[in-house]
Every structure is written in structure tokens, then in C-alpha cells.
């Protein structure tokens, strides 16, 4: 997977690159609009992480340029602006997703993978992890070819854990991911215990991939 990160805050960019790198995502970096346009013109990316506010221009302009060049790269807008208007404008211009700063790196990785899966696999979108097969379109799970009933929340949790395999996930990051739009209203993450417990049980022996990390959160271990 090849990702282009367009972000003027070097320190934040380092963190993102560091996180994605350890997840086998090759991440290139552009600090401004000019650099970004150069890279986009020459290379193909699976996904472009695009900051809206750049020192020499606007992320929307880059997005328009990508669309003008008929590039198939997935685009995730990243912005400090969380206004509904900005979000809608970005999505109307053809962005695949929108993320507001500050964000969880685990959330970013999960979104990147989702966008790439959507763009590349389309109709036959399945994620395999050892004996576990997750059908993205059908939102169903099979373990060693045996269909396993999971709730919507458990399915999302599983996908999130697998997407961030070998990463420590904080309870708050998991809770926010499961709460979607409501994440900002959360102040109690305890509800995820029940989901983790149930998912573990349903996965049977595969449930052992889920490890607890000292009161911090959870980790999917391969």
C-alpha cells in the first residue's frame, strides 16, 4: 500500500508516517501544495491524506487537480476545521472520507484501509486474517469457513482490531470508533468491555488474538 501524506506540520507528519510504516504502509510525504502536486503528477497512490490548510494553498485545490487529472487515488481530507460545510464541500468535490484534527492514528489507519479496499476490490471485498475471513460487503465473518454470527458493533470492532493489528489501541480510541458521529459525546468507555468480551467468545480460539494491555486498552496479536 502506498500512501501520500500532505501535511505542513512536520511533527504530526512524522507521527503518522511512523504509525503507518509499522503497518506495512509505504508513506510518502509532501509539506506543501507545490510538492504535493509534483508527486501526484508523477506517482500513483492508493490513498492520499490531504490537509486542507497548507502554507501555499488550499487542500481543495489539490483535490480538484486530482479529479481533473482523472486519478483513481483515494482521498481522505484531514482538517482542523470540523464545520459541516467544509465536510460537505470536501465530499462533494470527490473526497472519499473526512477526518477532523485531532484524530487517533489507529482511526486514520482504519480509514485508509477502508478507502483502499473500497477503491480496489469493489464487488469482491474480503479481508483475510489467518483463519478469519471478513466479508466487507456482506458485513459477515467466517472462521475456518464456518459462518459466525456477530452484531454490527462486534463486526466493526473486529475490523478495527484487525486493521490495527499489532498496535496497542486505547479504550477511548476503540470507543470513539464504535460511536461514530457520537464520539464527541463520550465520556465513559466502559461499554466496550462487553463488546470485547462477546467478540472474544464468538471468535472461539481465534479470540486469543485479542490481548489486554494493562488497563490501557487492547491489542490484536498475530
Amino acid at each position: 500500500m502506498k500512501v501520500l501524506l500532505i501535511e505542513d506540520e512536520k511533527s504530526l507528519a512524522d507521527s503518522v508516517i511512523n504509525y503507518l510504516h509499522t503497518s506495512e504502509v509505504q508513506c510518502e510525504y509532501a509539506a506543501n501544495k507545490a510538492e504535493a502536486l509534483d508527486k501526484i503528477a508523477v506517482y500513483e497512490y492508493d490513498c492520499i491524506l490531504l490537509d486542507i490548510m497548507l502554507p501555499d494553498g488550499n487542500g481543495f485545490e489539490i483535490l480538484q487537480e486530482i479529479k481533473r487529472q482523472n486519478k483513481q487515488d483515494g482521498v481522505i481530507l484531514v482538517s482542523a476545521k470540523d464545520g459541516v460545510e467544509t465536510r460537505i464541500e470536501g465530499l462533494n468535490l470527490g473526497a472519499d472520507d473526512y477526518l477532523t484534527k485531532p484524530f487517533n492514528l489507529s482511526e486514520l489507519l482504519a480509514r485508509v484501509q477502508a478507502v483502499i479496499r473500497r477503491n480496489q476490490f469493489g464487488g469482491n471485498n474480503k479481508l483475510q486474517f489467518n483463519e478469519i475471513e471478513i466479508d466487507i460487503n456482506a458485513k459477515s465473518v467466517t472462521i475456518s469457513k464456518v459462518a459466525t454470527e456477530v452484531t454490527r458493533k462486534e463486526y466493526e470492532l473486529l475490523l478495527y482490531l484487525v486493521a490495527n493489528k499489532n498496535k496497542v489501541l486505547s479504550k477511548s480510541a476503540i470507543a470513539e470508533h464504535l460511536s461514530g458521529d457520537m464520539a464527541d459525546s463520550l465520556d465513559n468507555f466502559d461499554f466496550i468491555y462487553a463488546h470485547i468480551k462477546n467478540l472474544k467468545k464468538k471468535l472461539g480460539t481465534a479470540g486469543e488474538y485479542i490481548n489486554t494491555v494493562y488497563g490501557m486498552g487492547y491489542k490484536w496479536h498475530d
Partner: protein, 425 residues
């Protein structure tokens, strides 16, 4: 408003009417007596002229034997022989008038005259009756004119006052309905009166300054919150990077967990500050029909899941389908903050009741067994918030949304239940 106008009118009219009345009371007798005095004086002059005429024309040709005849034909000028020495004595006396068959006041002049070498007492008299009737008429006319004058002035003053104060009342009305969120300019008329022009000018200046301060403050909060986003994002990302290090031990994870919670709280606080500053922004002024019931139903699973951790039960007791002309995002925020509050401040095994009525939303929850202090309820950061609790802005944002839409919010503590009710108008 009407009461104030009358009060002002009465205040200006009362001393004026009182003065007029006292003047009338005082002026009438003075007028009466001076008129009478004037008339007596005039009568005396007539008597003097009579006397002069008598001395100059009649006396030199009058003989002693004519006196009896004179007295017979001049009842008003009588001559009697006298040794008394009286010189120009004027006085008033009531004398019986056989013609009118009544006692009438007369003005008399006594003086000594010499006729045909003999000393005589000359007594001339003038009836004052006609003069008195005249007085009465003059006084009546005077009183009538005065009364007409007062009544006229009363009405003119009333009309004038109403008219004069009209611009003042207009201005007052506009100040009363001034809303800092809308910041509509003062639209007033001063009727070309300098004082009102000054008043309006000062008020407009004052309102503008307030609006400026308000806008600057809002902008500041917005900018500050915005500027914080990037360092916050960096902080949060670094903590997440740290979490991934291979050889973290339990103590380090504990520290990281706390750092993580603090950064979450910071970003939530920041988002709420932005929201608080933006409630009256243009972007949220777009109104559409918002169904409260639909919004709650969309989120009820989330709320129930959050409540379940504390074994709190959420019941929708009334489900009236009402549609509000409002911004959906604002209504979502209002519902979210109120319901999340009712969960956050609830007790184990507690309950929450949500009732959507025709014109009202009522959310009541069990909680601490004492009422909240209403005066601090909607203030920013009024209660001490721990790391895992709310941001201290939830109810302040709710209040702003309620105010912005001209709704009303009430808090009550009844039978152990904390109840918030929002009245939609």
C-alpha cells in the same frame, strides 16, 4: 409601556394643573376686590365731578328759597343747612330704595358748600347696584375663560407629550428587543429633537461597542480553539506513537493511559469551545423541519448503551411527533448534551425519562439527592469537572442554543428527579 407613558404625562401635568388651580383660587378674589375698588374709585370721581359742576355752575345761581325745590327734584343731591365742618367726605351706605323695594348700597359724598352766603351740607349719592351685577358677570366670564384655558392646556400638553416622547418610546422598545446575536442596527427617529438625537446616538454607539466586544470575544475563542487543534493533534499522535513502543511496562502504560485521557479531554473541550462560540454563526442559521422524535430514535441505542454501564434505564414516556423549525445540528447538540448529562450525573440503577410533548421536551433523571444551584447551572465551567466527566460547557451550550432559538429552558428538582424542560415557542 402604557403605564410608563401615563406616569410621565401625569408627572408633568400635575404641578402645572395645581399651579393653575391655585392661581384661579387666588386671582378670583383679588380680581373681584380690585374691580370693586376700581369701581368705587370711578364712582367717587363721578361724585367729585358732580360736586365741581354744582360749585361752579349751580351754586352761584342758587338762592336760599330754591333749596327746597332743588331737594325735591334732585333726590340724589340733597342740600341741608348745617354748621358742621365736613370737607369732601366719601363713604358707602345701605339705603332703602322705594323703587326697587330693597336696600341697596350707595356711595355718598358729603361736603360743605356755601350757597347764597349760607353754609350748607352737600350730600351727593350714586347707586352701586348696577356695578355689582357687572362684577358678577365679569367674574363669571373670567372664571370661564380661565377654566377653558386650563382644559385646553391639559389636552394640548397631553397630546404634545405623547407626540414628543414617541421617539423615546420607539428607542426604548428597540433596546428592549435588542438581541446581541442578531445585532440589528438601531432604527429610530428623533423627530428633530436634539436630546433624542443625542440619546439615540449614544445608545447606538454603546450597542455597537457591545457588539464589537462580543464579536471580538467570540472570534478570540474561535481562533484560540482553532490554533490549539494542531498542537493537540501532535500531542495526541505522539502519545499514540509512544503507546506502540515495544518495551513499555505496566507503569508506563498507566502514565500513557492518563496522558491519553487528558488529551481526549482537551480535544473535547476545544471542540465544545468552538461550538459555544459558533452557536450563532451564519452556518447554523439555516433552519429546517427537525423531528425531535426521529433524532432521539436515531441515537437511542447509543444512549442506552452508555446508560447500561451504570445500569440506568432510559424510558421514552411520551412520543409526540413534533417538528421544529430549527437547525438540525443545533437540536442534535441540545439533545445530546441534555441526555448525556442525565446519564453522566445519574446513579447506579437510576432512571431517565424523556417526554416529547406538543410544545415541550422534558428530560428527568435520578441523581444526587439535592437540587442543583440554578444560578450557576448554565454558567461555563461552573462545577468542578474531573478528567472523565464532561467539559463544563454542555449546559452553557444548551442555554445558548435555547436562547438563539427564542426557546425557554427550566430546571426543577421534584421527587428526587432532576428535570430539565425545554419549551419551544
Amino acid at each position: 409601556m402604557a403605564r410608563l407613558k401615563q406616569k410621565l404625562l401625569r408627572k408633568s401635568l400635575r404641578p402645572f394643573l395645581l399651579f393653575s388651580f391655585l392661581l384661579l383660587l387666588l386671582a378670583t378674589p383679588i380680581f373681584y376686590f380690585s374691580l370693586q375698588e376700581l369701581y368705587r374709585h370711578e364712582t367717587d370721581e363721578i361724585l367729585e365731578i358732580d360736586l365741581e359742576e354744582f360749585i361752579k355752575i349751580t351754586a352761584p345761581i342758587l338762592k336760599q328759597e330754591d333749596i327746597a325745590n332743588w331737594n325735591r327734584f334732585n333726590p340724589n343731591v340733597q342740600l341741608t343747612q348745617s354748621d358742621k365742618n365736613i370737607k369732601n367726605h366719601f363713604f358707602t351706605k345701605i339705603i332703602y330704595n322705594p323703587l326697587a323695594d330693597e336696600d341697596e348700597p350707595f356711595r355718598l359724598l358729603q361736603t360743605n358748600v356755601s350757597i347764597d352766603g349760607q353754609n350748607y351740607l352737600f350730600v351727593d349719592r350714586q347707586n352701586l347696584v348696577e356695578n355689582k351685577d357687572l362684577f358678577v358677570w365679569v367674574i363669571l366670564l373670567f372664571v370661564f375663560l380661565f377654566a377653558a384655558f386650563i382644559v385646553g392646556l391639559y389636552f394640548i400638553n397631553r397630546r404634545l407629550t405623547k407626540h414628543l416622547w414617541q421617539p423615546f418610546n420607539d428607542t426604548l422598545e428597540q433596546i428592549e428587543s435588542f438581541n446581541i446575536n442578531e445585532q440589528n442596527a438601531l432604527n429610530v427617529n428623533d423627530n428633530g429633537i436634539e436630546e433624542f438625537a443625542r440619546l439615540n446616538h449614544t445608545i447606538a454607539k454603546w450597542l455597537n461597542r457591545n457588539a464589537d466586544i462580543y464579536n471580538t470575544q467570540k472570534e478570540f475563542i474561535e481562533n484560540a480553539a482553532h490554533e490549539l487543534q494542531t498542537p493537540l493533534a501532535v500531542f495526541k499522535a505522539k502519545v499514540e506513537n509512544l503507546m506502540q513502543l515495544e518495551n513499555n511496562n505496566e507503569a508506563q502504560y498507566k502514565l500513557l493511559n492518563e496522558l491519553n485521557l487528558a488529551s481526549d479531554k482537551l480535544s473535547k473541550l476545544n471542540k465544545n469551545l468552538l461550538l459555544y462560540a459558533r452557536v450563532d454563526n451564519q452556518q447554523y442559521s439555516v433552519k429546517e423541519g427537525v423531528s425531535i422524535l426521529n433524532l432521539i430514535n436515531d441515537r437511542i441505542d447509543f444512549y442506552k448503551e452508555q446508560a447500561a454501564v451504570k445500569l440506568v434505564d432510559i424510558v421514552l414516556s411520551e412520543e409526540t411527533k413534533i417538528t421544529l423549525p430549527a437547525n438540525p445540528f443545533m437540536v442534535e447538540t441540545l439533545l445530546n448534551n441534555l441526555i448525556m448529562n442525565s446519564i453522566r450525573h445519574n446513579v447506579e440503577n437510576g432512571k431517565i425519562e424523556i417526554a416529547i410533548k406538543e410544545n415541550e421536551l422534558i428530560i428527568s433523571n435520578s441523581g444526587p439527592d439535592k437540587p442543583l444551584l440554578e444560578s450557576d447551572l448554565y454558567k461555563r465551567f461552573s462545577n468542578n469537572q474531573s478528567l472523565t466527566k464532561g467539559t463544563g460547557l454542555g449546559l452553557a451550550i444548551v442555554k445558548r442554543i435555547v436562547d438563539f432559538n427564542n426557546w425557554k429552558i427550566n430546571y426543577q428538582f421534584l421527587k428526587g428527579l432532576h428535570t430539565f424542560s425545554v419549551h419551544f415557542s
